[in-house]
Symmetry: C2
């Protein structure tokens, strides 16, 4: 016979409830159905465009914090387009981009890495009519360490800046990272500055690019906070609950944060660049998991008298261990980091890159490898520029003519110079250069 007195403080109850709710979400993501407690569920089915991207047992789960799939091939992006209500980037659109810019489409377009869009035709209409637009992308600086996957949106955005010759704003959401992670404000800010160096090393034009930390820029801009408040007035807790899965135990900082990621979609958030103009169209290249923020933004825009931002969505960059596993900054073997040496790259690819090859050389020669699940091949589609060479590798590996070691060698030979060159460019990024990129100032461009 025994009894226990049980007493929990309000904080302990709050954090227990928070954990319960987050476990519920993980459970739902993993099991494909709601965790059923003792009382009957009352959540309505997600039917609206702004509803949560809930999944049934066979479906993938994608939101800004969780990307989950059971398929070694990764997320089913065609299904995602249907579920998110975006449009596929098809051959016709790619051809139109080529005609408009007079440039060969970037390999990310040619290979379906940027695969989905919203209103890109409208941006091209404007561009062809000599009307202005600007680019907006961003990064959540959760640590100093960035891996090659983090560069995808920036590599593509740099290309867009070059071929369209337009201004670009890059948001470092250090406030978000402070809110979500166990970081101090100073840590979050210093990660923003460190990450900015890697971003600058992608080759952005200093005369056309403004990089900003939220923590800094909020206190330096006469336009940013005003747009944040405007957006916050037009989005309810019910809406962010539906879109982002926030709960009553979440802090009010998280709950109101989506407005801060939304605000740079509107040109008068940057009076130093666009003065008080509110009519300049924004184009946002980003990974598809960020789309919920911008569906919300597009919902709000007409209600506050601003144009809806257009979007270009990329697929996810797979972890070395396979497209269905988690890439983690705390696991150095889950990806190629921008600080890796040539030797580390070689070892990681050889040891950790999930292979679509057969168990023995004999079987491989006979039946061939599977490029659809082979991570080395996936990485090559991201980084090998030469289409013919990539197609030859695909054929040879599929037929069995090319062995896994040879495929990995091809990837290593692409990654080693890519990372080395990045490191060389990053070394040239001085504190002064970072400071200039991060100073609110005029940008040079021709707007009518």
């Amino acid at each position: 016979l025994s009894h226990h007195f049980y007493f929990l403080s309000q904080d302990e109850i709050d954090s227990a409830v928070k954990m319960l709710l987050s476990l519920k979400m993980s459970y739902k993501a993993a099991m494909g159905e709601d965790y059923k407690a003792d009382c009957p569920p009352g959540n309505p089915a997600p039917t609206s465009n702004l509803g949560p991207d809930a999944t049934d047992a066979e479906e993938d789960f994608v939101d800004p914090w969780t990307v989950q799939t059971s398929s070694a091939k990764g997320i089913d992006y065609d299904k995602l387009i249907v579920r998110f209500g975006s449009s596929k980037i098809d051959k016709e659109l790619i051809n139109r981009i080529e005609r408009a810019t007079g440039q060969r489409p970037h390999r990310f377009l040619r290979r379906g890495i940027f695969f989905s869009h919203r209103d890109m035709n409208q941006v091209l209409d404007a561009y062809e009519n000599k009307k202005p637009f600007y680019l907006y992308t961003g990064r959540g600086p959760s640590s100093e360490a960035m891996h090659v996957g983090h560069l995808i949106p920036f590599i593509f955005t740099k290309w867009l800046q070059d071929v369209f010759n337009v201004p670009l704003v890059i948001q470092m959401t250090d406030d978000e990272k402070y809110l979500w992670k166990d970081l101090t404000l100073d840590q979050a800010y210093s990660y923003a500055v460190e990450n900015a160096k890697d971003i600058i090393a992608c080759g952005f034009d200093i005369n056309k690019t403004f990089i900003f930390s939220d923590l800094d820029y909020m206190g330096m801009s006469s336009g940013f906070y005003k747009n944040v408040v405007k957006i916050q007035k037009h989005v309810t807790f019910n809406q962010v609950k539906g879109i982002f899965g926030f709960t009553d135990s979440d802090c009010i900082g998280k709950i109101s944060f989506p407005a801060i990621q939304a605000a740079p979609s509107f040109s008068n958030s940057f009076p130093q660049i666009f003065q008080d103009r509110t009519d300049i169209q924004c184009l946002i290249p980003c990974a598809i998991d960020q789309d919920p923020y911008f569906r919300m933004t597009r919902d709000v825009a007409p209600r506050i008298g601003y144009p809806k931002p257009a979007l270009l969505h990329s697929t996810f960059f797979p972890a070395l261990q396979g497209a269905q596993t988690k890439m983690s900054a705390s696991d150095p073997n889950s990806s190629i980091f921008l600080t890796d040496t040539a030797k580390q790259i070689k070892t990681k690819v050889n040891k950790h890159a999930f292979s679509g090859g057969r168990d023995t050389v004999e079987e491989h020669r006979q039946f061939g490898g599977n490029c659809d699940v082979d991570v080395s091949f996936m990485y090559l589609t991201f980084f090998l520029e030469d289409d013919d060479k990539l197609e030859q590798i695909r054929k040879d590996y599929t037929s069995g003519a090319m062995l896994t070691g040879e495929l990995k060698k091809a990837l290593i030979e692409v990654l080693q110079p890519l990372i080395a060159e990045h490191q060389a460019r990053r070394k040239e990024v001085t504190d002064e250069i970072v400071k200039e990129f991060m100073t609110p100032r005029k940008l040079s461009f021709d707007f009518q």
Copy 2:
């Protein structure tokens, strides 16, 4: 901006489910009821210090947006002190203020108009030890029109600034008014500037006073937003739901706003005044309905390493029609406005001020009037400086020696010069003076 790949093994799912079940048991043990998955645990009954100030049919209701009582005498302030958990400003504390400052206590102290406090003894300890503190008060600029009741906190704050010789920050919550009212940003901001003129006309020292619009200052301060985010990280939706009664249908701007009213309680929100010092005690004079904001602030302060602000609470200024009715900026007859002419004041008091007198002169002479419900007498307690004269009026009116017309005449004779002098001082407040008060800058004071 972030995304993570999430994959759970069967083992991880099993242990998550196990944890869920054990958390459910802990929850039941702590809360005394089953955890309900689809209806998250709103707030428990308001027992905690941070609980909502809910009322039963007989109790008054006080929150920042609603003050409601069924008694003609107005709110029961002694009960409010118990319910809010603050302390009464008693004779002993008033004597201590007199000793510390060497000044006669302001009539608002002598007459119990500032009736409640938190940690005022701590402020006096600091003051007596030559340690610095600063004053913080504010106003929600909901329209251009201000009435005499709006001046109460400012009249008292000016006295505090004079007798303690300390710096003062005054927050104009134009963002709040934009969020709560049907106003544009420009309207809310212009009301902030107009109201600032009336505030300046109270006689604040330009060398020791900083007045700021949230919409403006958020984009001009390197410290304000950082403190806002810090506070927002440490307050959950459950908490603001409990404190302010927010619901899921409220916009995320309202939900996160309390952090913006909290932030000026911390000295490093004003780096231009206090540099990066975080240890300077703040004293907030305000009407008691603002206390929920600062209970929240005091709850958060130690968790982010800042001192708790101290408070001095005032009673409410009654409407002309009686202490239980609502004063409304849209009803010009509900109060004396700062723009009223001498004639308007006379007419309003004579026509609209609720009287505690008898129905006929004969009855009045025989039974006397009731000062406890007479609005003219209440207004005199706010504005007539002479204690002896006030006491004489109280006696004469209660005995029936003084008639209602005579009482109203006494009030008119106090209000007419008070308003006329305010208008004269306001006229002298030029746009340049407003601009200087509202410019972030050093203030002059001696801090060790």
